[in-house]
Amino acid sequence: MLVSTNIIKNREVVADDWSVLRLNEGDSADSVSIPAGKVIVPFSVWNARRAQLLERAEVGVWLGSDAQADVVKDDLAHFSLVAVDFPKFTDGRGYSIAYNLRTRLGYNGELRAIGDVLRDQLFYMQRVGFNAFAVRADKDINDALKGLTDFSEKYQTSWDEKTPLFRRVQRQAVSQD
């Protein structure tokens, strides 16, 4: 059964018809039942059931925070979306995974943050390349949306901003007197 929930995508709250498959204890990637419809499978399931999943029109994959972006390097064309899981919002590995997916591997599709996704991390997440956010279900998604606009300027480069402030603008001290 598909439950439509809301996510933030491209800075808007939208309905989402994807489901995320997570392996429970005792499940194995080889044998777990993959739901019908649009499903985001763990990378281990993709790896084990590649042939079967390739038959689907649309498939997504999610990477754990301990993964390297490189593992999906050769398969990116098959995915309608790639998600990165944040098991805890304090686990920052997903930021580097996203950065590498976007910059090094040139992934241009939907990049979604899933898991412990909270308002106060969204600004940083969008900077490294996430454009979709499955905000944790107990949080107000409309409130979380505000997190995308915390700052209007940034010093350094990342995926969203290829030019550092010092190359982008003429800078000069402003007198406070």
């Binding site: 930021y95 106060d120 940083y124 480069t157 402030l165 406070q176």
Partner: protein
């Protein structure tokens, strides 16, 4: 010193608004304490034993007089009338209300200050040499590079949730005064054979429970590549640093596990991808920032002054102060003055609102309106005319900031310890005070000469005990406070980690322990030999033997605490 432009102002203003709303959401229970914790830490707000503590960033230790006056104002309005200088060149206030913390940030923003990334698992405030720009032994002024690193690391989106805190220090002089070898990244500004400026890059140093001296992973990195290379180091660390055990999460553990060579290889591979990209620094940007660090309008002065020479001869107190608290300057007729925030009877690094106002006025009058914070928790007036030193000394003396003990036994580096810090296993301030009282005799201290006594109240080593010539570490044994002593540690160009001399002591025993260590030194030293030299020559054995040779009274007469052996 660096002045904000419209972009710096905007970013800091937006931070205040963001943080104010985070506090509001916490108070409204929209954020749990667990969710709020890393947010407030990245804004320097800790929950301590009694109250919140707010740590304010002092980028590379540089302050203007209006900023110092703002500290005095904060101390009066929001705290209990004083602040505490930290070993990372910052200042912190110990009695803060959560509800008022956004207002403090708003007030700080009016003088180009903030508390961004002074705590939390992110890139912390970059530290540097307190004598940068004035030191006689300086090769290149490191401050423009420190400022470029400040901007790059501020809200870096990829590195805000690292495995652990991350500290960078930069030094540009022959003598390393920034403890670069015990930082996650240490940068030495150097010139190569062609005279080009670059960095020697050390990585994986640190203190805490596993003290390690940083390894050089690159002998020469052209300065233009500073930020891309740092980015490569941080990316390798973010992905591969341990997250399963917070005590093994610092980059030093990763570097040790991989070996410095392998770590360097991974960084170079990562760097190849971004090297020469848009984040490469430009001569224009260096020039823009360097213009804020140009020399102040020095007068052309003779190397000395007749009046000054007379004052020096006539007044022993002044001569002592000159000897210890005044440092050579690269400009003729000027000197750098260190204000000792280590008066006996006062917790090391604690400074009152009145003293802060006084220092700001003094800086305006005698030192181009600038003040620096040292990592030994003192303050510096970097540009004082030699002819005015006597006047400055008299004024400073009246404020209790002229104790002529810089570099001496009572210039103790000391963390806040169990009196404030909720991490501490033991108190450290009373230990520092008891030692300072016992050795208050300045003649004795001057005779002992340069010695570093560092005290930490717990294994996190905020008091840098590992690199103290004498290091004291507070430990908890069965619910009571004990102190472990190490000797032979050193910071600077010959950084070394101290060795523990044996079983720990009670608080009451500590002054006698120090006395015994010093006795061995006084008896064994050769002429000209400092305490550290004697320890290095003889090893710890003779010290250990004498310290433990006979029982030291504990103040306790019965029970478990009666004897340490």
């Amino acid at each position: 010193m660096y002045r904000y432009d419209q972009y710096d102002h905007l970013i800091v203003k937006e931070r205040v608004a963001q943080y104010r709303d985070q506090v509001r959401r916490r108070l409204a229970d929209e954020l749990t304490e667990e969710e709020f914790l890393p947010l407030r830490l990245q804004n320097g707000l800790y929950m301590q034993r009694h109250a919140y503590m707010l740590r304010i960033a002092v980028p590379y230790g540089m302050l203007s007089s209006p900023q110092v006056r703002m500290f005095a104002h904060i101390a009066r309005k929001y705290d209990r009338g004083y602040g505490h200088l930290t070993t990372r060149q910052n200042i912190q206030f110990n009695w803060i209300n959560l509800e008022q913390s956004p207002d403090i940030l708003a007030e700080l923003a009016t003088v180009e200050m903030h508390a961004i990334q002074t705590s939390g698992n992110c890139i912390r405030n970059t530290t540097s040499d307190e004598l940068a720009g004035v030191a006689a032994d300086e090769i290149i002024d490191p401050r423009p590079y420190a400022e470029m690193i400040r901007e790059w690391s501020t809200f870096h989106p990829e590195f805000a949730f690292l495995p652990r805190k991350f500290k960078i220090a930069i030094s540009g002089a022959e003598q390393d005064r920034a403890a670069t070898a015990v930082h996650d990244i240490g940068l030495h500004v150097v010139k190569n054979a062609e005279g080009e400026v670059g960095f020697r890059v050390l990585v994986g140093g640190g203190m805490g429970r596993t003290p390690i001296i940083g390894s050089v992973i690159r002998e020469f990195l052209p300065w233009q590549h500073a930020l891309t290379y740092l980015e490569a180091i941080l990316r390798v660390y973010n992905q591969h640093g341990r997250r399963d055990n917070k005590y093994k999460a610092r980059i030093k553990i990763l570097v040790k596990a991989l070996s410095a060579e392998e770590f360097a290889r991974q960084v170079e591979a990562e760097w190849l991808d971004i090297k020469d990209g848009p984040a490469t620094l430009t001569a224009e940007e260096l020039q823009r920032i360097a213009q804020y660090f140009t020399p102040p309008p020095y007068e052309t002065l003779p190397a000395t002054d007749a009046g000054f020479e007379g004052q020096k001869t006539d007044n022993k107190g002044f001569a002592n102060w000159l000897k210890r608290n005044v440092k050579a300057h690269k400009v003729s007729g000027y000197a750098a003055v260190i204000l000792s925030v280590k008066k006996t009877g006062v917790p090391p690094g604690d400074i009152t609102a009145a003293q802060l106002d006084f220092v700001a006025d003094l800086a305006d009058q005698y030192s181009f309106g600038e003040v620096r914070v040292t990592h030994e928790q003192n303050l510096v007036l970097a540009d004082v005319k030699i002819s005015e030193l006597f006047t400055v000394w008299q004024a400073v003396k009246a404020q209790g900031l002229a104790t002529p003990n810089i570099g001496l036994l009572t210039d103790i580096i000391c963390c806040p310890g169990g009196d404030f810090c909720s991490l501490a296993n033991a108190k450290s301030i009373p230990i520092a005070q008891a030692i300072a009282e016992k050795f208050d005799n300045l003649d004795f201290q001057h005779d002992i000469g340069d010695i570093e006594l560092n005290i930490s109240g717990c294994i996190n080593a905020c008091g840098h005990h590992h690199v103290g010539n004498i290091g004291i570490l507070g430990v908890d044994k069965d619910g009571s406070e004990w102190y472990q002593v190490s000797i032979g540690g050193a910071q600077g160009n010959n950084t070394s980690i101290g060795k523990i001399i044996g079983p720990s002591f009670s608080a009451q025993q500590m002054p006698v322990v120090i006395e015994r260590l010093l006795n061995v030194y006084v008896q064994q030293r050769t002429e000209e030999e400092l305490f550290i030299d004697t320890v290095q020559r003889l090893g710890i054995a003779p010290f250990k033997e004498f310290v433990y040779a006979s029982p030291i009274p504990t103040g306790y007469t019965h029970g478990e605490d009666a004897c340490v052996y």
